[in-house]
Each structure stands twice: as C-alpha cells, then as structure tokens.
Symmetry: C2
Subunit: 605 residues, 2 copies
C-alpha cells in the first residue's frame, strides 16, 4: 500500500499523528503512536476500557460490543471503543484522560485556565538610561525610578535584597537593562530582553509538581514532578509533625530537605529551557497546611494536636531568599490562604482552577488523599471539610499496595469471571495502586465475590484462606513481577471500606449542612492524581461517591497545580482567592452531631 492510501489519525489533546491502514483499529493506531490507551482485555472488546471520542472523520459503524459498553449519552457524543473503531477517512480522535494508562497521564496536567499577562503582579520594562555625571548625580535607584516613571510605571520602593547588587548590576549592563517590578516595588534588574519567569509549585505530602512559566506570554515552558523528600521523615504529615517537634532542629531539617529538592527542581526546569534561575521573579506555592508550615519553617506542634490550629491562614508573601530558594534575589513566594489545619491552599487553588468561586451551580469538589478535602458550593456559600480517609488509595496499608508507578495494577475488571488487570507501563504486576484497588473492590462487590460487609464468598474461584481470614488471588506468582502471588485480602478490603466511608461521610455531612440531597449536585469535581485515574463507576459502586448521573462527574487532574499557575499569572485571582476564603464555612467533622453514626452507616459496600 502506498503511503498516500494510508489514513491519518490525529490524537488529541496529546497532539500525536499517525498513518494507518483502514483495517487497523484506532487502538492499534494509538499503540503504534506510543499512546498507552487502557485495554485490559488486550483489544478483544471485553473490558470496555478503551473509550475514545471521534471528533471528526468517518469510521466503521458502531459494533454490538460497543453498544454494550457505551451509554446512550456516550453514543450520542460519538464515543467509541478504540479496539472496535476502524477508519474510513482521516480521523481526529479525542482520548479522555480516564482511557490513558498512568505513565501517559502526567500528574502535572490540569485543566487549562491561563490568564492574560496584563493582570500579572509582575511587570517588566526595558530601560536605557543616561550615565550619572557630576551635574546629574542622582542615586542609582532614583535614576531607575525616574526612568520607569517616564515609561509610565510607578516604582516607589526597591527590594532590599536587590539593592545589595543594584549599583554593580546596572553598571555591568552599561545602564541598558530590564527592570522588573512587583506592583510598585523593584524586584529585579536583568539583562535587556530577558524572559521574565515565574514558578508555580504544588507541594503535596507525597509529590511535588513544579511549572516554569513565562509570565509575559502566559505559557508553561517546562514542568516536572518529583517525590517530596520529607517522605523519609514520615509518610504522612502527622508523623512529620511529631518528628519536627521532637527532634532538635527538626523543623529546620524538614524545611531544608524541601528547599534543597526545590532548588534542584528549579535548576532542572531552567536548564531544560536554557534560562537562568535568576529570571524567576515570582513564585506561587500551594500546599496543604502542614506542608505550608514546613515550607515556611513555622511552628507545627499546635497543628499536630487537637484542635489542629494553623499559625496562619491568611495569604502571605515571603522573600524567596529568606527561604533559601535560588531564584532572583528580590523574588517573593506567594502562598494563598489556608482554611484550617487540614484544609490547605492546595484545595483553594483547586477550587479557583475549577472556577467554583464564579459559578452559581451547586457544585461539589474533592481532592482525595490521606486527607480528603471536600467543598460544596451552593447559593454563594461554600461548605468545606476534611476527612481522614487514610493512605489506602496511595497504596499504603494494603498488603500488596504500592504507589502509582511501573508494575502497579492500575485498572481491573471482572470479565467472564476472571479478574483482568492492567499495570502501569504494561509491565508484570508487582503490586496494586489506588485506582487498581478501587477497581478490584468495586469488581469483587459487583460480581458478588464479596458481600456488603466486605466478606468473601469462599466458594468463588481464586478466593483462598490467608494467614488471617481470606484473600483473592489477582495474579499468580508465575505471572507476576515478584516472587509471590498478588492478592487482595480481607484486611485490604477493610481499609478501603474505612477510606470510602470517611470520604462519603464528608460528602453527606456537607450536603446535610447545606440541606441538600445528592441529586442536587449539578457538578461533582474530582481532582488530584488519584482522582483523575479512578473509575467513577467503581467509586459509585462501592458507595464512595453518590449515585448521581455519571455525566455530572468531572475529573480534572492536578487542578491545584493549574490554580497555582493561574495565581502566578493573575493578580485579580489573588483577590478572588481572599474573597473565596471568606465565604468558606469550615465544618469540623469530628465534632459534628451524628458523625459517628453516619460514618458507620457508610461502611457498607
């Protein structure tokens, strides 16, 4: 077949293009293009995981298999199963994030919400000034201020940190340079025509995502995710707080670990795009409250014990140099508002990114982690709470649990009585990550292998006695990448029951507080890494999410990161952020009437 006879397939939003034969499926095209679409059944049409949407072009007619797996709404919206769709012309295909396997789904991706650069707190002016003389002996700063004024910019003060080198810099630049202002404050003096950069960081307890942004063209130039190095001082923040409080210089050590990692990250991000870290003139960092305090070296003892009090919930601007960050000496780090000890600015950034503060819809938004923060927006009020959902969905406290990395079972489905699993990077299974365990428990429950209390039906194939109680074999030792069978135990199921119960209780109490029913929720936003990959169907199936039409769910990826980028680019969004936080009614679940009862009621699968 000649090249011209091949049909062209464009994959969006990934932006990859491939040419295939008309008897090759869209799934095959994706595989050839290196796009890892989930296909638990290997393309046999038995799992229904490889959903894609046909954006333009003509393809083979809808098969019966597809009719079985796709809802009426999905069919109307041109959804197909990639394994059953064959091109009849060039096609444009949309790959929804839920159909991608983990390694493709960058946890850095979030919804796009980038603002106009004229609203940025940072403004640059390229200046070319006359040299000082005996008859024009104005001080260096006065000369610069007046130069800025002639360009229509008001500069009333100069960051002390840049004063330390200002005189030498402007002379080195021979009075031709780029002046960078943060509102009315001079914060950097850079070579003429320098790119003006900002850094948005989402610092989670486990992961850090950083985005290097060109503040003038409002574009992310490079991005990178790393593990929070504080993890070696405790997987969860409670352990880290205990460490910080009980070790001499514990706080300083935790801060230093973080700063060192961030400085490496900054160096790498800049090297990647050939820019200098001194061009980073503004940073936005969003964190949970404990990480926020560790980052700033604030006291955490009071945060670790009842009633879990933050030192500060207001937004704050801290000199980057004071924190030890290797960026422009005059740069500030802006940290948005925290709400409470267990609802931090990362949740707020997520809310801002999703636009919840602007919408009049009844909207619920949550970010699942060891603590799950939930907000409900209804008629101008926002109700927020934090649930102690535990680390089960991060793979902890699960016998074969692991983080979402190569070899982790990330998807699972019962097909013809067999549990089909898919691993990240299609490697041999070595454990189960959050989305995998959710799928497994959902599938076991749906197929009756476990009952509503989580107990196994011992008659079922692959259910076998374990050291204590029973377990279900997912992958035999021979097929696994380890020296043991990969199983899910009765205790694992219990962990999931506890986690989902905690989350559902938060959802229920917020609804109760707002006097609403689940069906009143018009949009249900699920954010964060795990939230992006989880199967909403299975979350509903085990009762973690309310049973409302699936179209109302929106999985938005790392919206906290997007919110951080938005806050970097938009000054007015920072004002919005303050206003949003004032509208929040924080609900302390543990002191809520009936909390215990609701929690217990939610323990049924």
């Amino acid at each position: 077949m000649r090249q011209s006879d091949l049909l062209q397939i464009d994959f969006e939003p990934i932006g990859k293009r491939i040419r295939i034969n008309s008897n090759q499926s869209v799934l095959e095209a994706a595989q050839m293009a290196g796009i890892q679409i989930t296909a638990l059944c290997g393309g046999n049409g038995t799992c229904g995981a490889c959903k894609i949407r046909l954006m333009s072009g003509t393809s083979s007619p809808l098969s019966d298999t597809e009719k079985k797996f796709l809802s009426e709404k999905e069919i109307k919206e041109n959804y197909r199963l990639a394994c059953k769709a064959f091109p009849k012309s060039d096609l444009k295909i949309f790959v929804p994030p839920e159909s991608l396997s983990t390694s493709q789904r960058l946890q850095l991706e979030g919804i796009k919400n980038i603002s106009d650069s004229s609203d940025c707190i940072i403004q640059r002016t390229d200046l070319c000034l006359s040299q000082p003389t005996l008859s024009d002996p104005r001080s260096d700063l006065t000369r610069i201020k007046e130069g800025l004024s002639e360009n229509g910019h008001l500069c009333t003060r100069c960051n002390y940190n840049i004063l330390e080198s200002l005189s030498d810099s402007v002379r080195r630049f021979n009075w031709k340079f780029c002046a960078v202002q943060r509102e009315d404050e001079l914060v950097a003096v850079l070579p003429s025509k320098s790119r003006i950069l900002g850094l948005a960081i989402d610092i989670g307890s486990t992961k850090i995502a950083a985005y290097l942004v060109d503040l003038e063209i409002s574009a992310v130039l490079s991005k990178k995710g790393i593990t929070n190095p504080q993890i070696s001082y405790g997987e969860d923040v409670v352990t880290r707080i205990a460490y910080a409080d009980s070790h001499p210089h514990g706080r300083e050590i935790l801060q230093e670990k973080l700063i060192t990692a961030l400085n490496n990250l900054i160096r790498e991000l800049c090297t990647e795009v050939g820019e200098n870290s001194e061009q980073i003139v503004e940073i936005v960092a969003v964190c949970n409250t404990a990480i926020h305090h560790f980052f700033l070296n604030l006291p955490v003892r009071q945060l670790g014990v009842m009633p879990f009090i933050p030192a500060i919930t207001d937004s704050i601007n801290v000199p980057a140099g004071k924190l030890g960050l290797n960026v422009a000496p005059g740069a500030y780090v802006y940290l948005p508002n925290n709400v409470a000890g267990y609802i931090g600015a990362d949740h707020i950034a997520m809310l801002l990114a999703t636009g919840i503060h602007k919408l009049s819809k009844t909207e619920m938004a949550l970010d699942i982690g060891t603590n799950t923060e939930i907000s409900l927006s209804h008629k101008g009020k926002i109700y927020s709470c934090s649930c102690a959902s535990g680390p089960a969905f991060e793979g902890a406290h699960i016998q074969n649990g692991m983080r979402a990395s190569t070899g982790a079972i990330e998807k699972a489905q019962m097909i013809d009585g067999e549990m089909k699993v898919q691993t990240i990077d299609q490697e041999k299974a070595i454990g189960i990550c959050g989305s995998g365990i959710l799928d497994i428990v959902g599938s076991l429950r749906a197929s009756g292998v476990i009952n509503e209390r989580g107990n196994f039906n011992r008659q079922v194939k692959n259910v076998r006695p374990a050291e204590k109680n029973y377990e279900f074999v997912l992958v035999n030792k021979e097929d696994s990448g380890t020296d043991r069978d990969i199983t899910v135990t009765r205790f694992d199921i219990n962990e999931i029951i506890l986690a989902k119960s905690a989350i559902r209780t938060g959802i229920d109490i917020l609804l109760k507080e707002a006097n609403l029913q689940p069906s009143d929720i018009e949009e249900f936003i699920v954010a964060g890494a795990f939230g992006t990959y989880l199967s909403v169907e299975n979350a509903i199936r085990i009762g973690m999410f309310p049973n409302i039409p699936i179209e109302r769910y929106r999985q938005v990826g790392n919206a906290a990161g997007t919110g951080a980028i938005d806050l970097l680019l938009s000054k007015s969004l920072r004002t919005e952020c303050d206003k949003l936080c004032k509208r929040i009614n924080y609900i302390e679940l543990t002191s809520y009437p009936d909390f215990r009862q609701i929690l217990v009621d939610n323990m049924r699968l």
Copy 2:
C-alpha cells in the same frame, strides 16, 4: 556655719544641687558639685570662659571684670562669670554647654525635641484571648488580628520573622500578651505589660551614639557613645570604600564589624535599664551616605569615585534581623533619606531636629567633620553642599593633634601674652583636639603671632624654628603629659587654613546660589560634637564663619542624634523628612563656577 545658713545653688540643665557659703563663688560651687566649668585662668577673672546665666535668686553686683567680658546682650540676659558671682540668696544657675569642659558635655546631648507617642509608628495592645477549640479553630494569627480589631486596631499582616515563633509564644504566654504593631503589621508579641522600646543610632565615621527609648513615654532610658570599629579599616570613608572594594568580602567585613559593635551596644543599653533587647521593636539609624551603605552592605565602589553616586537616596525600612541586629525578630530599621554621596541622612536628621523645615527664617546649618555638610534654608528652598574640610578638626594631620579625650587641649586663650590652655579632665596636656587648635590659631592671629597667611612673627616669645619652618610652643615638655613640648607648627596652621577655607567656601557658595549676603542669615546652627565645643568667636576670627552678630549662632550638640530620636517617635516627621529632601537643591561645589577662586580667596586668616 550652720547648714541652714548655707545657700543653695541649683545647676541646670545638669540637675545638681549644692550648698555653699556666701563668700564662695558660683565657680567654687560648681567645682564642689563636680561640674567642670571651663576656667582657663583658674578663676582669676582673666579668661572670661566661665560664663553662666543667673536664672533666679540674688547675687553679688556685676564686677568690672564681668563688664569687660560680657556683651551688653549677655548682661541683659543675666549672664555672669561664675568666678565673679557670689550668692546673696539661693540661686538657680544655667550652665550653657559652651562653658562646660568636654568630659561633662556628653556628645550624646542634643536639643530636645521629643514628640507625642500617639504619632509613633509603633503601637502596643495588651490582649487576653480565648484558647482555640474544635468549635473555634481560627488560626493563631486570625485570633490575634480579630483580638486587635476588637481593640480598635487594624492589623492586616504579620511579619514573617515573628510567624516563626508566634504560635509557641502565644501559648507560652497562655494567650495573655502584648501585641506590637508597626502601622498595620504585627511585628512583635511580648509578655504582657512589657515596655516597648526603640533604638535611635547616629552612626558617624568615627563615633556611634545610641539612645534606648521608651516609645510610649517618649523618654530616653539610656544612651551610650562608642568608637566606630570600622576605624581600623580606615579613618575616613574613602579609605574604607577602597578597602571594601579591593578585599574579598571587604563589604561584609565592614558591615559585620559595625553590627557586632551595635549588638554589644544594644546589650549594654538594655542591661543598664534591666530590659530585654527583644523589646526593641523599631530602630532609626542616621549615618552619612557611605556609612549608610556599609551598614546595609550596599555597593560602595560607585560612591568612592567621581561622580560619587549613592545606590539609594530614598528612605528605606530594612528588617533588623536581615542586618544581624539582635532585637525583636520583627523589628525594622528605618534609615532616612540621603541627599547625595557626601550628604547623608545624619545631616537631614540634624535639619529636622533643628526644625529648619518648619521655619520661614533664613537659616544656615552645618555639621563639621572630615566632610562638612552645610544647608541654607531660604524662602522654602533648601540649598545643600558638602565640603572636603579634612580631618584637622578631628585632630588628624596636626603634629600634636588628637581626638577630644583626656589630656587634649580643648580651649586656649592668649592672656597677657601667654597662651593659657585647658585640657579635657584637667589632666596634663598630651595633645590638641579640634576646639583647641581652633582657639590656638584664632588667638595667635588675634595677637599678631601669625599673619593673615599663617606665617609666624619670629620675634614673638615661644616662636622657634622647627624641623621645617617655625612652630609655637604651647606647653613645655616639663608641664606636659608627654616626653616632648606641645607645639603648633606652620604646617598645622596650614591644615586649619585649608579646612576653614573649605567650609567658608561652602557657606559662600550657598549664599551666592541663594543670592544672599552673610548678614541675611538670621540663624546659624552649628551642630555636632566639634561644633558644640568650638569657639564661635575664634571661628569668626579666622574667617571660617561669617562675621554676623554672635547671638545668631546656635550650637546645638548632637542634633543628628536628636533627629534620630524624633524620627523614632514620630511617624509624621518621617513624612516631613521625605518632603524636606524633595526641597533640597544639592550643589556640587567642585563643579561650581569660581569654586577654585573662592577657595583661594578664603585662605587668608
């Protein structure tokens, strides 16, 4: 004589009281009270130096000797010679600073101008807050801000440095504490009822004067003067700038020397009054421009070479902790505006203290040092310049010159053809300080021992050939505290001619610029240590000061220090300071037309 027959003499402003017999003179009373009134002739009525003013009470009638030494105006104002005044009743005596010998005249004293505490940038509030609970989980800062708000104080932000300890502090104080605000910013949290302190520092090239101030009662609690330790890196700022610029870490070393000395000073000032340095919540530092830059570790290279450009002339607030000062972690150092490379904030502080900015009089104010800064205020405009007067008046470049300390000849007068000298602390003469050399040159000129070019009349007793040219013997080896005669040489006289010519040239050019005659000067303010002790008569005699009525001269002591205290206590004065600086027309003398000619013309004695 019974105690009740004794007459009581009160000395003001020193505040000492003594009882004497009616046949004892006021001078004897002063000597008994330990007050060192100048009396070159030893109380014989031949020097006229021991002028005092009778404030109340009756004394012996005016003697002929007194009529000879006192002007008509002085007689009208009840001036007397202490050696010739005997009490007829209890007396209240005012001792003018010029009649006191150095050791009594604290260089820390200045004119008094202390403001009302309600205008202070610092405000304190004693709070007693409720403990956080699960149902009131506001962050620590929010709790404090709301507590302040209930007390009528707006607090919108918290200094980052105090956040690092805020949570621990308020718990240690059991939520009962003193919150200190700097305008809308929380800068300190102290134990309840703490005294709120400020520090005013006048950092000269040679000397540092520091004042510990209670900001609420507007009172100086303790004060101390020390030598600027940077002196070991160069007596003058030019040498120090060269050092800073040519040595690795030169700038850092100079800054560190200064900070270490200031920290010692702070400790001593606080110890003296039993207060803690963490109670110092605000600092005002006034310096010349070079010292200002050294203090802040700013670049100085461009300040050391033509056209002598400061990095900054605006006022600036720098976190005290950033400079390494051991005071409240949230304290700021306020540094008022500089005018130019050789007119610093110390001169501005002096102008503020003298009230020049508020007066409509034609006023000249100057502060004599290695550089002499002069300002002329006339019809709303201020003309300022700096003269390179050299260190002669600081005792340098004078063969037997020394600083104003024990054993220095500080006063001299020709009496009956003999040069009578007085030393500091009445010890044997070991050298000559600034006020002494001025008196000596003035007396030598007045008595015709030298001519207008400074050449000796070789016929006069005590004039003898020296290694080069001639010299005048002041004190013989046998009477001196050294192993040599104390003399003044032709070269010494030349140094004084150069110095006085530089100063007078500055005065003349400012007058010329404002189109005024010397006689238009309504008030002539002489500030600074040397300025306080110098004899205005002799300054006029050698042509350093214009020959205007002596009553128009006002010697104000360390007005820069007073200005610093005022700026510490008054927020509105800081605004005045900005305004004042905008009104200044800086005149660069070296590029002024006819500068050389005027300078040469002024070289006649």
